[in-house]
């Protein structure tokens, strides 16, 4: 077999160009970014039980298979979160985190309607001074998030310990829901990506 063309270079997905590097020197994501990305994905999973399948589909749709190669690879990248029980002591490269940001925002847009409904319900509950249990869908989200969080995070970590009560976890879940809402926006990817490096650049 004769080869007439030079070997194909792995093509860098052009979609990554949307996210600038902000002059970050190292190729590794800061600790807080790893945690935040994993938490956001946890919230997405709490919103939609089928989220892991959706994520794999999103990777295909966005053409990011070169970076996020498989389900296991995705899981290993999420496990770089230092608060996880089975923490992988691996770096999370900028490229990988960019891909994760894109995937998350892609999923968030698909879930826009649900997220807005939840906020509407939240607003009503707050206006009527009712507890969060009174909105069925919101309560389900919070409950699922709590169980996901407790199942996967290392309870010996000091930061995880601060979320030991249901109220604290609900607070975290709602703040993550706000972040998901912001991710649905036109500049969602850029905003999320930028926020990962807040306080990390000089």
């Amino acid at each position: 077999m004769t080869v007439k063309s030079p070997p194909e270079k792995p093509v860098r997905p052009p979609i990554l160009e949307k996210l600038p590097n902000y002059g970050i020197q190292s190729d590794e994501c800061p600790r807080r970014a790893k945690t935040q990305l994993d938490f956001i994905m946890l919230a997405v999973e709490a919103l939609d039980l089928n989220a892991s399948q959706l994520m794999l589909a999103a990777i295909r749709d966005l053409g990011l298979q070169n970076i996020l190669k498989s389900r296991v690879h995705l899981w290993r990248l999420r496990s770089t979160n230092p608060l996880r029980k089975f923490n992988q002591r691996q770096p999370l490269t900028l490229e990988e985190s960019k891909a994760l940001v894109l995937v998350v925002c892609y999923l968030c847009r698909k879930l826009t309607v649900l997220i807005r409904q939840l906020f509407l319900g939240y607003q009503q509950l707050q206006d009527q001074q009712l507890s969060l249990d009174h909105h069925f869908r919101l309560a389900k989200y919070l409950k699922r998030f709590r169980s996901h969080f407790r199942a996967r995070m290392n309870p010996k970590r000091a930061m995880v310990l601060t979320y030991s009560t249901d109220e604290k976890l609900d607070e975290l879940a709602l703040s993550l829901l706000t972040q998901l809402l912001l991710c649905t926006g036109t500049r969602g990817e850029e905003r999320l990506w930028t926020s990962l490096f807040d306080g990390e650049v000089s």
Binding site: Y22, Q36, F119, Q123, L181, L182, T194, E200
Partner: protein, 530 residues
């Protein structure tokens, strides 16, 4: 021509009005911007300055929601015209300064603080989304940019306030300073030498020291020191000699010296191997304690030093351990002759014993003992027979003949001490022992009676143990003290004078004589009854 752009979202719509500088239909000059928020009665209106301030603040606040870090752009301050602050739950507060509001809005304000709006998260998000859509629209105000950039590190306030962060190091330094101040006034502890070590070494040295340094010439001392660790310490410094001499007193008692001399002779010849031969006679100076332990030895010439290992001296030396007590020692000259004989001489014995020989020479004593134990006829006969056969004088001369004749002092000392003769011949083992039980029983009884009869007074003192050797005829051929006091009090029981016969080839047997402190005499065969 006026251009109007609308960005409509569920909770908020943004309407921009302006002019285009050219025919390209691009809105490049902003005349009026209006936010219409659902649920808020009055819309927010303003010019270019108002619009710019609002979008910067809202955009920055969105970043704050994402990362949790306060951005300076949305914070309320003197310079900022628009501020956004979080409120309880999902509400947020939008604060507009009066300067940027139009006249109508300003008049409607109750106070001069500015206009405050309460927005829900969704309302705020729709505002931000309208702004982002406007930003994405190339046809509208391309000069306006909403920059997104990570918050620089210097704006990130530490999780803990400064006071809390500074407390631990300050506390540490403070404690150190207080401790240092306190310890400064304490005296520096003096180095205390371990007492045990201090007391032990000189004491151990003193035991071996005085006579060696007194008597040995300095040269000999120096020669000995490098090769002989046992004596080296003891003999090196001359300056120590006076001190040591003060603590250790030499043994001066003539009888004791004689006993020691005898014991030393036995000790050395007992240990000397049969085939030991020397090229020349070896001379050593040996220090012996009261109980007969050799505590130090000192070769007197080079040949002696080299051949030290072929002599039994190193093996016999008793090395004091633990808390050694300074004991008095006696000094002897030991000579190993090439033919394997050993001579022990004492310098100190010379003077007192010059007078002695006449008093207690064995030849005088023996006849007396003959007559003394008159209770036993057999014994008398035997001793008589012995006396006629082989005069004690000859026995003595035999004994003394082993001494080198070229040392008159030693000769005198030896012949002077009566006890030196008999025990000298007491070999550790009997060549042919007596086997007959009846005979042993008889001899046992006989010996007991002899001792009981011979002793001058009832004995009060420590328990004495002797090893006495009898031949088949009942003659005492030698004795040996088995403990230290026994040596001392041998004369009390006239034991030296009881020795009546020289050792022969005839069968012999050792007996253990125990004189208890209650003056009870017990006699048994040394090796027990057969």
């Amino acid at each position: 021509m006026t251009i109007q752009r609308q960005y409509v979202l569920p909770n908020c719509s943004l309407i921009l009005e302006g002019l285009s500088t050219d025919a390209s239909n691009v809105l490049s000059i902003l005349a009026n911007a209006e936010f219409k928020i659902v649920g808020v009665e009055t819309s927010l209106q303003g010019g270019s300055e108002f619009f710019k301030a609002l979008i910067v603040a809202v955009s920055a606040y969105c970043q704050r929601l994402l990362s949790g870090f306060e951005h300076p752009e949305h914070m309320a301050s003197q310079a900022s015209l628009v501020a956004v602050e979080p409120e309880a739950g999902q509400y947020h507060r939008l604060i507009l300064k009066p300067e940027i509001l139009d006249d109508i809005a300003r008049e409607s304000l109750a106070n001069s603080e500015g206009k405050t709006l309460q927005l829900s998260t969704v309302q705020l998000f729709d505002m931000a989304e309208a702004i982002d859509q406007f930003y994405a629209d190339n046809q509208t105000l391309p000069d306006f940019s909403v920059k997104l950039a990570p918050l620089p590190r210097r704006y990130v306030r530490a999780a803990e306030p400064l006071a809390q962060r500074v407390t631990p190091p300050l506390l540490g330094f403070g404690t150190l300073a207080v401790a240092a101040l306190g310890l400064f006034f304490l005296p520096v502890p003096e180095l205390a030498e371990p007492e045990g070590l201090d007391a032990q070494n000189p004491a151990a040295l003193e035991e071996t020291l005085p006579d060696a340094t007194d008597d040995a010439p300095p040269d000999a001392v120096d020669d000995a020191s490098p090769n002989e660790p046992a004596t080296a310490d003891a003999t090196t410094p001359d300056a120590q000699a006076p001190d040591d001499a003060a603590t250790v007193s030499p043994i001066t008692d003539g009888a004791q010296l004689a006993a020691l001399q005898q014991q030393l002779q036995q000790q050395i010849s007992g240990e000397l191997s049969e085939d030991a031969t020397f090229d020349q006679s070896l001379n050593y100076q040996v220090s012996v304690t009261q109980n007969g332990d050799i505590v130090a030895y000192d070769p007197l010439d080079t040949a002696s030093l080299e051949a030290i290992d072929s002599t039994p001296l190193p093996g016999l030396t008793y090395i004091p351990t633990g808390d050694a007590i300074a004991e008095s020692v006696a000094q002897f000259d030991v000579t190993f002759d090439p033919d394997g004989t050993v001579n022990v001489l004492s310098d100190q014995l010379v003077a007192p014993d010059v007078v002695a020989p006449d008093v207690v020479t064995p030849d005088v004593v023996t006849p007396e003992t003959e007559t003394d134990p008159s209770s036993s006829d057999a014994d008398q006969e035997l001793t008589n027979g012995d006396a006629s056969d082989d005069t004690p004088e000859e026995a003595t001369s035999e004994a003394t003949s082993t001494l080198p004749s070229d040392e008159p002092t030693g000769d005198a000392a030896d012949s002077a001490s009566p006890v030196a003769i008999a025990p000298e011949d007491l070999d550790p083992f009997v060549a042919t022992s007596i086997q007959d039980l009846d005979r042993i029983y008889d001899l046992n009884e006989e010996l007991r009676r002899t001792i009981v009869d011979t002793r001058s007074t009832d004995w009060t003192g420590p328990e004495l143990r002797y090893r006495v050797r009898l031949d088949d005829d009942g003659n005492i051929t030698g004795y040996e003290a088995d403990n230290a006091p026994a040596e001392q009090y041998a004369d009390e029981f006239k034991l030296p004078s009881l020795v009546t016969a020289a050792p022969t080839e005839k069968p012999q047997l050792d007996f253990l004589v125990v004189i208890s402190d209650a003056s009870v005499v017990e006699v048994n065969p040394w090796d027990g009854w057969p």
